[in-house]
Symmetry: C2
Subunit: 195 residues, 2 copies
Amino acid sequence: MTSPTPTPVNRLFRFIASDTGLWQVTKAQCLVGESLPAATAISVVAGNIQAVQEVPAGAMWQLQGITSNERYVQRAEKTELVAKQEGLGRADSSCAAIIPVRKNAAWWAMTQDERREVLEAQSHHIAIGMRYLPAIARRLHHCRDLDPNAPFDFITWFEFAPQDTTLFDDLVSALRATPEWTFVDREIDIRLSRA
Amino acid sequence: MTSPTPTPVNRLFRFIASDTGLWQVTKAQCLVGESLPAATAISVVAGNIQAVQEVPAGAMWQLQGITSNERYVQRAEKTELVAKQEGLGRADSSCAAIIPVRKNAAWWAMTQDERREVLEAQSHHIAIGMRYLPAIARRLHHCRDLDPNAPFDFITWFEFAPQDTTLFDDLVSALRATPEWTFVDREIDIRLSRA
């Protein structure tokens, strides 16, 4: 079966930490592993550019990730997610969080069925996220296969309204208490507010 | 659980087509989609370098891919694969093939359970490959999340002895007859012989 080359959809995103930017850092916490230098603001730059860009002049650091196909979600879960979730960029979502995470070698050595077992059967990762929809919007970016030297495996970007901050705290606390999180060996939680 | 940063294992490979190189092209066939310019030889370059390199001077084209975690294989299958398979670089494996493949948007829109259903329950991809071990050694490289502009999603590199060429032809024929292959919209099969 041949099919025309699909219209390119942007999948690559850069998160640039510097002194200025749309999203002001309100709090940053390193939960496990090495921290990142403190920054005042984060800019999110989308672009289907060549991978692994140089850090822009004046930036303290940048992270990049790529959105990709589903790795664990099954059809019934996907249907429920799509029905409940809302996109990024909502007018009242003036709060955000960027949480880069790395998982250890034991995680990556597992086979697909073993990882799904830990992620959902034991940890209910998908089900927990579902409970916070549509209040907490998210976009998952993969880093591990974008750059073999990437300092994180995933970057998740979340957006929510200020009054849902406690809800968001509950979500990340619930995930951090799961068996899946015993495989996380680096995690930084940076909270942001739209300027 | 924290763990030390693992020793970097090279995961990034470049396949450079030019006039000279260890592997001489003996045959090249475009099965579906756009072809690649004809080349005389292919060089395989390993290196945990920054992703997305420029095409070297004098090269006709290059492809690059990254080895990654298992996407479909389950533990029982993995155990059997590991017990049967042999590595690349065997002295008598003087034949090789490089087969870059792209899958269409319908493939990537499926959820994990749907893709596994097509790949193994319907197409027996893992079971078919198992039947040709240890004669046919292989290494799978992913491209899709390495570079959003990558012309292929996967590059598989195979090595085998000259007397197993018919066996290798059987293997690729069997895979191309599966439901999984109805999602393939670009495939080129380049056969090689070690100089």
